[in-house]
Symmetry: C2
Subunit: 215 residues, 2 copies
């Protein structure tokens, strides 16, 4: 996890940071973090570690949390083939903000890649990610009605979600896969004007997540 703001927020949020690495150039305020787990490296070394074009000279090392599929404890989201790290991170960021605390990933890009962690604004450490094959994921989701997001579905304006549910968002290019779709109990859509064929996957996910929240 890279950048002053991200690392500060992770510490403030109680994420289990293992180590903070600084470059020699870092001139900002110190971090409230045990000295023996802070490492100073040369500019040359830091630039090898960094994924940023203009690094701020601070990054944190974090353990990948356990991701074996478990049943959801509250609102849930299933992502089926989200391929772009920016989209995946943005969706996880929104899930964290909206309180969808269990996010299931099937055939998605790596949620712990630096690009996804950055787009998620630490959300990958605040929601519970469940990663597995289709059978394993659906065992964990047994009994939870699945709401398939699809442009051809029932308008979300006319739809009342059941007490428990899991929203299913498909890949950017192909939507929800046929095998997952076959397990969904409802298909819902964001209504669109005729000149718009579809929304960005992260935007559609955000609209549906907030629309179906119990108030």
């Amino acid at each position: 996890m890279e950048g002053v703001k991200q690392v500060r927020e992770a510490l403030a949020g109680g994420v289990p940071v293992e180590r903070i690495v600084f470059s020699e150039r870092y001139g900002g305020a110190p971090f409230a973090f045990p000295q023996e787990r802070q490492t100073l490296v040369s500019e040359a070394v830091f630039s090898k570690l960094s994924e940023e074009a203009a690094p701020q000279g601070v990054l944190a090392v974090l353990p990948v949390p356990p991701c074996a599929p478990q049943p959801p404890r509250g609102n849930a989201l299933l992502l089926d083939g989200v391929a772009d790290p920016g989209n995946l991170g943005t969706i996880i960021r929104t899930a964290n903000g909206a309180g969808y605390e269990d996010v299931y990933l099937k055939n998605c890009t790596d949620p712990f890649s630096p690009k996804c962690v950055r787009a998620a604004m630490s959300g990958v450490f605040f929601v519970r990610l469940h990663i597995g094959g289709e059978e394993e994921l659906f065992r964990a989701l047994a009994g939870v009605p699945l709401l398939c997001a699809d442009m051809a579905g029932e308008s979300m304006d006319a739809f009342s979600p059941p007490e428990r549910f899991c929203i299913v968002i498909g890949s950017e290019a192909n939507g929800v896969s046929d095998t997952v779709r076959a397990r969904c109990s409802h298909t819902v859509s964001v209504p669109l004007r005729q000149t718009c064929e579809s929304l960005n996957a992260a935007v559609a996910a955000g609209i549906l997540m907030y629309r179906f929240l119990k108030k």
Copy 2:
């Protein structure tokens, strides 16, 4: 505007395409478009015109529509300092989908850059864009209540929008500027869990646009 799907959708949507340019490599179906306004160029020329890493060999030339600020005819959106072309395009794509037909741009990145046009999925040609300085934009918006999107605002769940309104979305880094904020009649927020400091600007804009639609 580049790519087979984008150009087909623009033609289908009645966007005034001036010319279609093909590379020698293009082997797809022909376009229903006057022959005398189709141009075939070499691979070398096309690669100079293209902004894509893997060009599909089709692009369309379109006129920049007039963007002098006018009063809105229906739902309106004001973007104040949106700097990322991908974010700007994604917001315009959603505005088109949701039926916010008038989008006002103050200090934003160029909406007609190839990157923004691509993210907008032709939305830049289907909504009316109004570009101008602050005074000019606010003359056009005179009498329209402005709803400032801000994390410190009233929760959207507790808010009923007035009959006419314009949603104001600020820059990714700094939110809505002070001078624009001073003109807003309400400040509204997307409610967030504590571990999430903010949403992506395009996601927040999408959630608010759909929440405030009259059903």
